[in-house]
Amino acid sequence: MSLVDIADLTIRFVEKAALSGLSLSIDAGDRFGIIGESGSGKSLTALAIAGLLPDNAEVSGSISFDGAPLPADEKVMARLRGQKIGMVFQEPMTALNPLMRVGDQIAEAIALAHAAKQSTVGSLLSEVGLEGRHAERFPHQLSGGQRQRVMIAMALASAPDLMIADEPTSALDVITQRIVLDLIRDICERRQMTLIFISHDMRAVAALCDKVAVMRAGTLIEVGPVATVLADPQHAYTQKLVAATRMVPRQGEPHIAGKALLSVERVTRAFAQGGFWRARRQALLAVDDVSLTISSGECLALVGPSGCGKTTMARMIVGLDMASSGVMQLEDTRYRGTDLPSSRRADISLVFQDPFGSFDPRLTVAQSLGEPLRLVPGVTPMDRQLRIAEAIESVGLDRAMLVRYPHEFSGGQRQRLAIARALVTRPKLVVLDEPVSALDVSVRGDVLDLLARLQSQFGLTYLIISHDLDMVAAMADRVLVMEAGRIVEEGAPAALFAAPQHRLTKALIAARLPNIGA
């Protein structure tokens, strides 16, 4: 019989329907994936099952859990949540109390569970692959993956019938993501627990779940076993999503690399670590004695797990941060970071990871796009208009959009605008910091195509910072692998991924989720 039955569920906020007419049934023991892009209503569905909808939501339809409708009384519902449902959230740093030791937080979850068979903190920690000593730590003393394990341990405290995991891995890097996904699968199998796994990543769902529902704009598009839905999608939207997930390694000749455009010579960036006994602490080397060269016209990728120093490297190259030692050379200008002369700043631009934070909400798009033009001497107001319009049209948007404000655009459109801003000064080198990782899967392909087109059109040189190997394989001519501030391996993507030498490269490749339908 089914554990969760949703019949004709509609959720409205003020005037807008966020979820309309959703009917789903989830059997006990299923590992059920819900896929959708941001705004598709997938998280809302999970909140509705857990009875955690915001107060201003108008709900119609019914949800029954284990054969009985969800209790309307908040106290009864809270007890049901505590005993039968465990939840794992996307961002473990904000889901944990920063002032409590994680062991105490797990103990609290156990105490609230009132389970017949009480688990202990130690057994839960070992079940999620942590050791007893981790119980004494505070959330900020754990890594992202360890925090997510603590969240899972808390969700397991009541030995729940159902675990709801809302994007549990999207804040983690590839290697940790794979480990956490495997952990969740093992636990579900061992405990015969039902799982609702919410994600925008088809491949994570394919790796973990046996049934999947595809949602879009508050409606259910398609539902069925993972193998059938992904191998033979019926609906056009699902087909598009599956196609977008499959990244094809780049075909054809590598870009013709010209003479060296930027060279980085033995650059080190040390951060002084705070603390009372300042003298005793060793400085943290975010970038440790790195040398690299980018030739004009090529597309170089810098990959590595989070915290390996790749973003710090990028910030020094574009002139937002200062190298502690070493020097960089852009053509014939030598600089160490923030001292990059403003006459050369127009030659390097940066595309940020998060398209939502990279635009001033109070400026129109035209004002934001025109901002870097102050670096270019002798631009008349007429020129300015022309170049802004040219930039926005080159990324496939309409020049009539220039008078709008950033909040009126979708994530994919904003990333296009960010690229337009990076191009407006006609730079030679464009540094792309995780250019698509904050975007929905279905628009990632479009943005990457756009980047490839712009590169050949304007003869740009790219430095891509990423942890996504498939994206790198689709874009780059040459890959540098970085670990703990050092470059550990280098090569062409095809050769490097076929025969990785370094331990980290091997781990990154092993953590790649299998391509679906391949």
Binding site: T94, P98, V318, G319, L320, S342, R345, S349, L350, F352, Q353, D354, G357, S358, F359, D360, P361, R362, L363, S368, E371, P372, R374, L375, R421
Partner: protein
């Protein structure tokens, strides 16, 4: 959009409406009061509220409604100019602290500690001792008290913003630090400053009443709500109305401004608009 805003925040509507009523009364007193406030007439003193004198008359036969209108005007003027002084000096200081950091920030923070350590009354006594009492000196005293408040609000807002990518983008675009503060930081913290301004206005009105009451603020023949209280205190047992009326006016104005400030905060502050995001980050 605006009607919707008021429906979502009824406090804002009530507070703003009450504030506007008092402000209009005060404004009206510039051109017209029912009776001239300096007109003393012993014959009609201690009149009870009636059709001639809506709020009665005081011990010198002056019309209470006229006095309250005039007093409200003094209160609003003093409070508003003090807010302008506080914001005009404090916001640039706070922004400078946020963008330059280091020694500039240390100086601004120590200055605000120093200013916080002396309440407005102490500063006012100091100024009155040096330059004599008067409304102008009350404005300066309250204004100085406002400076660190605005400096802290501006600094806090600017620091929260300065980690965002669009600030980095502006640095890449070659904008100077003051340029970033003017173009990107200031417009994005305006709502914070407006909310703080409303609350400081109510505190300023309260402080002005207090200073006038102890004789350091407005001097006769001008009047203010605090001065009216002072004049009426010796008669409180015989004619309580003379104290109650200006006291009630102060209470209503301060409550109205506080409700309006809270409402504005709910309506404007982006950190509260999306609950659960910034609250965790502190």
């Amino acid at each position: 959009m605006n009607a919707q805003l008021f429906r979502a925040h009824p406090g804002l509507a009530i507070g703003l409406a009450l504030t506007v009523i008092f402000a209009l009364l005060a404004l009206l007193s510039v051109v017209w009061t029912p009776f001239p406030i300096a007109e003393i007439s012993v014959a009609r003193r201690f009149a009870t509220p009636g059709p001639d004198h809506w709020l009665g008359t005081d011990q010198l036969g002056r019309d209470m409604l006229s006095l309250i209108m005039f007093g409200t005007r003094t209160s609003f003027t003093v409070g508003a100019i003090a807010v302008l002084i506080g914001a005009g000096v404090g916001v640039p200081l706070g922004l400078a602290a946020a963008i330059y950091g280091g020694q500039v920030e240390w100086l601004v923070l120590r200055f605000s500690d120093l200013a916080f350590a002396f309440p407005a009354v102490v500063i006012a006594i100091l100024i009155a001792a040096l330059m004599g009492p008067g409304a102008g000196n009350a404005i300066i005293a309250i204004g100085i008290f406002n400076i660190p408040v605005f400096a802290q609000v501006a600094r806090g807002g600017a620091i929260a913003l300065s980690t965002l990518d669009f600030i980095a983008a502006a640095r890449l675009a070659g904008l100077s630090k003051p340029g970033i503060a003017m173009r990107h930081l200031l417009p994005n913290i305006t709502s914070l400053i407006i909310v703080q301004g409303t609350i400081q206005l109510s505190l300023g009105i309260l402080a002005e009443a207090g200073l006038s009451y102890i004789g350091l603020g407005t001097q006769p023949p001008e009047t203010s709500l605090g001065l009216m209280l002072r004049d009426a205190q010796s008669l409180f047992l015989i004619h309580p109305w003379l104290s109650v009326a200006p006291g009630l006016a102060i209470v209503l104005i301060v409550i109205a401004l506080n409700i309006a400030g809270d409402g504005l905060r709910d309506a404007l502050d982006p950190r509260l608009r999306r609950p659960g995001l910034a609250n965790v980050a502190g």
